[in-house]
């Protein structure tokens, strides 16, 4: 599963390559009737990109039976977990816990919870790979960043790699969310190569229709052989939409967190590597800041 294609709305001229032929005979579209962006993003093929054929339907009966068993087991755990407490944990644990490790890389199975992507989706040449570290207790994200823009006539910038966690799923592939309201700090143990990374947290945006809203902060790695323990309060995360920092800021709400991701986009060509031991959340009682950024009045009258 890869990130959705980062396509901008194409110009009207390019629409002719998107719309079916019979629609070309219709009167030209006015700006008010431009087709919806999601449709374009699904069907739009950048110039030079190969045509992706749909994979053939693969019907596997035994796999289906296994999946059904898996989902019913999950449903049973959820049902009986309610008798233990919220989210299957006793309430006293919810009240007393100060640290919670969300992701730790202790085996190859842990890598399946993450998705790696790069600008190859938009025609770039960066590479990113994820594997277990040498001591099998960490994950190792490495690759090569390439800022060469794809030659499609419309992309102006390129060069990013990303590692993003998958959305947690309940039984029957229903979307679940992380509830981190008991915590106020993100705690990571990483070993980088001195490059600045971005940590992106995505919350539930189904009803707000702003699915590209992401809360971002920076992770400055030190490089070198020593591990780095990073604690970032959630009050420091700022809102951005499709890479642009928004004027109307608000603190991140932690009751419905979907994914966390690490992105490298520092415009420096060359190899990179990042080793992650664990990603945890913790509660720092000394940190009482609610939001790190002041909100100024926009468009003041004077």
């Amino acid at each position: 599963m890869s990130l959705p294609k980062l396509a901008r709305l194409p110009s009207a001229r390019l629409l002719t390559s998107v719309l079916p032929h019979h629609q070309l005979l219709l009167p030209p579209l006015s700006p008010l009737t431009i087709p919806c962006r999601t449709k374009i993003q699904q069907d739009y093929r950048r110039p030079g990109q190969p045509i992706q054929k749909e994979p053939p339907l693969n019907f596997n009966f035994s796999k289906g039976i296994k999946n059904i068993k898996k989902h019913f087991m999950l449903m049973k755990d959820e049902f009986f977990g309610r008798f233990v407490g919220p989210q299957g944990k006793p309430l006293i644990e919810h009240i007393l816990e100060q640290n919670l490790v969300i992701w730790e890389f202790r085996g190859p199975e842990s890598l399946k919870q993450w998705t790696v992507s790069s600008d190859q989706e938009i025609g770039g040449q960066s590479e990113a790979h994820l594997k277990m570290g040498r001591n099998v207790n960490t994950c190792f994200l490495h690759g090569k960043l390439c800022t060469t823009t794809p030659r499609d006539g419309e992309t102006r910038y390129s060069g990013y790699c990303n590692m993003r966690s998958k959305i947690p799923k309940a039984s029957f592939d229903r979307k679940k969310h992380y509830d981190w309201t008991s915590f106020n700090t993100l705690h990571l143990r990483v070993r980088g190569d001195g490059r600045p990374w971005m940590i992106n947290i995505a919350t539930e945006t189904y009803f707000s229709h702003q699915k590209d809203d992401i809360y971002t902060y920076f992770l400055y790695t030190r490089g070198g052989p020593y591990w780095q323990e990073v604690k970032i309060p959630f009050s420091k995360f700022f809102l951005s939409h499709r890479g642009r920092i928004q004027d109307d800021q608000h603190p991140i709400w932690l009751d419905k967190v979907n994914t966390i991701g690490f992105t490298l986009g520092d415009k420096a060509e060359g190899h990179f590597q990042l080793e992650v031991d664990f990603v945890a959340v913790c509660k720092d009682y000394a940190h009482t800041e609610e939001f790190a950024y002041e909100m100024y009045e926009r468009n003041p009258k004077n």
């Binding site: 309430l91 007393l96 702003q210 000394a286």
Partner: protein
């Protein structure tokens, strides 16, 4: 938000409820309900936040749906019988559809699923308005319709008390707990509305006072989670000492005020020959009591073993709602001895 816009919205909120109160025509009642819905939506999205937008979206869809069903029933009744008057409707099917529409607007079980999510997305001020003021208009209409569908209202009431108690058990978010509490309390109101509207009015008034006290307490200690309650003793020790009484009053424990409506409702149900319904309602109140006790435990009865090495949280600021809170807490805790006076007052 501009103060002019805020005042306009608050006045519109009042206008909508007043219209629903004074109307004797289904169309005017529908207008009042819709004005109410439209007035609170900007208040809900005052903070431009995805969760607030989610809450407003869900609230709008539910309330618009309920109002549409209500209008549909009113128009159909007028078409079939020629009657638009609220108190002149007698057809059981019509009364049933109206009851379901109003149950959807109130958040009674089994039409309650929207309430916890909507409350979770709001700040405590707007949540207070939603839990108290927004219930008045649909309840006013429910009180006026003729009691032709006894089993339906009993079912709605019992389901609400049961689901309101059960659903709140597995919550750590205080706003969701208060949403389930609201469902349960309105279940008690609906149980008795067809037998004694004055008693239902008393129950609503006691609930509004107690819910307002609860919301203001949570706002003062700035807690939206059970964990945050654990450190509220440092913010306001006196408030933390009074808060358990408010929560237990909501649970309906004597000798607090919250016991008054529950006691009178059980008495009325027994007089009407609904002993099993009364028993079930009492048993489901125990479920609600459990999560109120849990909140009390987290807030007051336990000193959690967490190191407090940092700066203590802020103290009460000068301009807080301390006077209204004092009045509401007094009303929530100590009005039980005035039960005969309260009954006489609502029976007027």
């Amino acid at each position: 938000m501009s103060p002019y816009v805020l005042v306009l919205l608050l006045f519109t909120l009042g206008l909508g409820t007043t219209l629903a109160f004074v109307s004797s025509h289904w169309l005017l009642a529908w207008v009042g309900l819709e004005i109410n819905t439209l007035a609170i939506l900007p208040l809900m999205v005052r903070n431009h936040h995805p969760r607030a937008v989610e809450a407003a979206t869900k609230y709008f869809l539910i309330q618009a749906g309920g109002a549409a069903v209500l209008l549909f029933a009113g128009v159909t009744n007028a078409w079939l019988t020629g009657q638009w008057g609220i108190q002149q409707a007698t057809s059981p099917i019509f009364i049933g559809v109206i009851s379901i529409a109003l149950a959807l607007k109130l958040g009674l079980a089994p039409l309650h699923s929207w309430m916890p999510e909507v409350f979770q997305g709001l700040d405590l001020n707007t949540g207070l308005v939603l839990a108290t003021w927004q219930k008045l208009a649909p309840l006013a209409l429910l009180f006026q319709i003729q009691p032709a569908n006894s089993p339906l209202l009993i079912f709605l009431g019992l389901a609400s008390t049961l689901i309101g108690g059960w659903g709140g058990l597995n919550q750590t978010q205080l706003r969701k707990i208060l949403a389930y509490s609201s469902i349960a309390q309105l279940g008690w109101v609906v149980l008795v509305v067809q037998f004694s509207p004055s008693l239902a009015t008393l129950a609503v008034l006691v609930y509004i006072v107690a819910a307002a006290a609860t919301f203001i307490i949570l706002k003062l200690v700035k807690s939206t989670n059970i964990n945050m309650l654990a450190v509220s003793w440092a913010k306001s020790p006196a408030l933390v000492a009074m808060a358990p009484l408010v929560f237990l009053s909501l649970a309906g424990l004597p000798p607090l005020t919250g016991f008054m409506p529950k006691w009178l409702i059980i008495e009325e149900l027994s007089k009407q020959g609904l002993g099993p319904a009364a028993t079930l309602a009492v048993l489901t109140a125990l479920l609600s009591l459990y999560y109120y006790l849990r909140i009390t435990y987290a807030m007051t009865l336990t000193m959690f073993p967490n190191n407090f090495s940092g700066v203590p949280p802020w103290r009460l600021r000068p301009l807080q709602l301390t006077f209204p809170l004092a009045c509401l807490v007094t009303g929530t805790i100590s009005v039980l001895p005035l039960t005969p006076a309260a009954i006489a007052l609502v029976a007027l």
